[in-house]
Amino acid sequence: MKGKRHLYWRRTRRLTFVLLLLWFCVTFGTTWFARDINQIVIFGFPLGFYMAAQGGLVLFLVIIWWYNRQMKKIDIEFGLEDE
């Protein structure tokens, strides 16, 4: 019983940590180098500007979507889904 519960929490924590790392790279990584990547043009935008104005935002949405999807899977696997 206790082991299963531990495993559930470990899986949740690992997923959270990985996605948080990704979030950190998008939020602070691309912005730190915004000046340099601005040389690249994407859809008519300088890349640094594009990431802060649109690209990053869409990635945030994808991160949350992926988290929900994976958590739902984990919940079902451990029989914890909401009725």
Binding site: M1, K4, R5, Y8, W9, T12, R13, T16, L19, L20, W23, V26, T27, F28, T31, W32, A34, R35, N38, I42, F43, G44, F45, P46, G48, F49, Y50, A52, A53, Q54, G56, L57, V58, F60, L61, I63, I64, W65, Y67, N68, M71, K72, D75, F78, G79, L80, E81, D82
Partner: protein, 678 residues
């Protein structure tokens, strides 16, 4: 197809259709000569009547309904309500203007205010929902135990929320006075009525369903004008897709205009003016006397030489309007000097990241940009009025889903704001710069009358140079309908949208303050045996008191309070974020640790803000305590230090104190779905 929708979805579909039909009807009436002022009234009446109707239908006397809408709000609608709850008057009206003025640097707000929802999704929302409490102080009380932490949390929640709610009501006053020409103070109390009709009778339940209605209005109002403008400029009505191309045009225009001889000359003239003021300020009070004497001599000379009476009167007025004493002269001249310095600076390129002449300057901007993003994300993930929304979903899974919907609905606005700024800049650079002042488009003169646009032909060439134009940030969203040549009904729509944004946020904030006072302080601490009926009576009377208090403060037009809104993120972030996150993810976090962390975090943020922002606080008798910022970080990003200090304090103090005995049971409950045994 309608059959496949739920009852709620159908209701809101009809509602949206009704609203669009209402706009259409007004557009037709305008064609037939309905005066603009009436259109403004129609929007004001119609929207507030709708909110009141929803408020009355959702009235309730059940505690769970009143505080958390009975935990029956589906994820999709909770997402919409969170969107409206989150997007304030500042997001709706101010953000595009900030982006216009600061270009890339302003994107810190866009990325910070959306990135925060990732933290909400991953670290907070599911756990808050599982804990089944009513407020954020409740959660901390349940995790750490004891009343002291509850009281500190209540204090921080009120500190962060009250200035925020004042700013919303102030925003309502501004919008109503501008579009419906009500007197500002009356506008404030109209706003108060608009807030009370939904929150008073139905609490969270009514606020939720009103916020959904308000979201629909605000998003239609935000996107319509810029979509039409985009269609006019590029032939594509989806501004988000095509403004990259417009941004390139803007960059070309900037390259051509910024270094034209006339621009350089104008900037030089403003520079000289700033120097003159600086000198005059240094030579006070002598300079003021000199000026007065000079004018007197001139007047006397004119009088002796039988000049035109008109010229003499003009000079005499000038003399009358001189500052009365050196104190006043200093304040006025400093303001004039700063405005001249501002205009003498070389403008920034819109797309350039961290514009600075040297590597060091660029790095200061870069550090501030990242620090501000950090503060805004953490603050977003810690504002109690947003977090409490995730208590209202039926299940944990829906709480997670609803963060996704929240971010999606918020994104729609935040992805549009930079487009607004770029289109406005394109308009200014291509249709205002180098144009004879007498031939400027109508919207410039119209907004100049209200004082939101100002033009000064300093080099007297009769042509507008960029440095001669200054725009108030609010004007970007407000004037876009006119820039695109749209009928007044669209301006009325924008006003209704701004009103919806301000009212929905004010509703959420007010409810947070009220429940902190009535639920956490009164019920949990003072009288735990109070009957449910009496608890609701207390809640409703608190709501009334706080709302009237906030409206009274807003009616005073307090300038400082508006700038304090930016601090709310630092305060909320450093108070709640470390204590919540460590409380969920770290078993060892103890009550003493959390308490110390919250107090240290908030105190450090406040200390930093006060010392960097002010040099003296007259009413406390403190003076000369201003300090240089640490690592050049602006006070709006004070939370950077507060949050880090908060985390560090909780960890250190927790390790020094005994583990909480109740922590394990609590964590087992919130880490597993449904609290079922696995």
């Amino acid at each position: 197809m309608l059959r496949s929708l739920t009852r709620l979805q159908r209701y809101y579909l009809y509602y949206t259709g009704g609203f669009l039909a209402f706009i259409g009807a007004l557009a037709v009436l305008e064609q037939h000569g309905m005066p603009p002022r009436w259109i403004g009234y129609a929007f004001l009446m119609f929207t507030i009547a709708m909110y009141a109707l929803i408020g009355i239908i959702s009235r309730t006397s059940d505690v769970s309904e009143y505080y958390v809408a009975g935990r029956r709000v589906p994820a999709f609608f909770n997402g919409m309500a969170t969107g409206a709850d989150w997007m304030s008057a500042a997001s709706f009206i101010g953000m595009a203007g900030t982006l216009y003025l600061s270009g890339f640097q302003g994107l810190a707000y866009v990325i910070g205010w959306t990135g925060g929802f990732v933290l909400v999704a991953l670290l907070l929302a599911p756990y808050l929902r599982r804990c089944e409490q009513y407020t954020i102080p409740d959660f901390l009380g349940a995790r750490y135990g004891g009343n002291s932490i509850r009281l500190v949390a209540v204090g921080a929640a009120i500190l962060a929320s009250f200035v925020y709610v004042v700013a919303q009501i102030y925003g309502v006053g501004v919008i109503t006075s501008r579009f419906v020409s009500l007197q500002f103070e009356i506008g404030v109390f109209v706003g108060l009525a608009g807030i009370l009709v939904c929150s008073f009778l139905g609490g969270m339940r009514a606020v939720t369903w009103t916020q959904v209605a308000q979201y629909l209005i605000l998003i239609v109002a935000y996107i319509t004008p810029v979509a039409i403008l985009s269609y006019n400029v590029t032939g594509n009505p989806i501004p988000q897709l095509v403004y990259g191309e417009v941004l390139q045009k803007v960059t070309h225009l900037e390259n051509r205009l910024f270094d034209s001889p006339a621009e350089i000359e104008v900037r030089q003239l403003f520079h000289e003016r700033a120097d003159v003021y600086a000198q005059k300020i240094m030579q006070l009070p002598q300079s003021l006397n000199n000026e007065r004497e000079q004018l007197s001599t001139q007047i006397n000379q004119l009088k002796a030489s039988d000049a035109q009476m008109r010229d003499i009167v003009a000079l005499e007025r000038q003399r009358r309007e001189l500052p009365h004493d050196p104190e006043q002269a200093k304040v006025r001249w400093e303001a004039a000097m700063f405005s001249a310095v501002e205009r003498s600076r070389k403008p920034i390129h819109h797309a350039e990241a961290f514009p600075g002449d040297t590597e060091a300057e660029q790095n200061i901007l870069r550090i501030n940009f990242l620090a501000l993003i950090f503060c805004l994300t953490v603050g977003t993930a810690a504002l109690p009025h947003v977090l409490v929304r995730y208590y209202t979903t039926p299940t944990v899974h829906e709480a997670r889903e609803s963060v996704f919907w929240s971010l999606l609905f918020i994104l729609l606005l935040y992805i549009t704001a930079p487009a607004y700024a770029v289109f406005a800049k394109h308009e200014v650079l291509s249709h205002l710069a180098e144009i004879p002042i007498a031939k400027l488009p109508g919207w410039v003169t119209a907004w100049a009358k209200v004082g939101l646009v100002s033009i000064e032909d300093i080099n007297l060439d009769g042509v507008l140079q960029l440095a001669e134009l200054s725009l108030n940030p609010d004007v970007i969203v407000l004037a876009t309908p006119e820039i695109a040549g749209m009928p007044y009904v669209i301006s009325g729509l924008v006003a209704a949208g701004g009103l919806a944004a301000a009212l929905s946020t004010a509703d959420g904030l007010l409810l947070t303050i009220t429940s902190a006072l009535s639920h956490d302080v009164y019920y949990r601490i003072i009288r735990p045996d109070a009957s449910t009926q009496f608890r609701l009576v207390i809640s409703k009377s608190m709501l009334l008191v706080v709302a009237v208090l906030a409206a009274t403060v807003a009616a005073e037009k307090p300038g400082t309070i508006l700038s304090m809104v930016a601090w709310a993120f630092s305060i909320a972030g450093s108070a709640f974020f470390p204590a919540l996150v460590l409380g969920i993810f770290w078993e060892r976090a103890t009550r003493k640790g959390a308490l110390a962390g919250m107090v240290v975090g908030v105190s450090l943020s406040l200390y930093y803000i006060l010392r960097v922002e002010f040099d003296s606080i007259p009413w406390l008798g403190i003076s000369g305590f201003g300090m240089e910022p640490w690592f050049h970080v602006q006070p709006t990003a004070a939370g950077l230090f507060g949050v880090v200090a908060g985390f560090a304090t909780i960890i250190v103090v927790s390790l020094m104190t005994q583990p909480e005995p109740g922590a394990e049971d609590f964590l087992t409950k919130i880490r597993l779905s449904n609290g079922k045994d696995a």
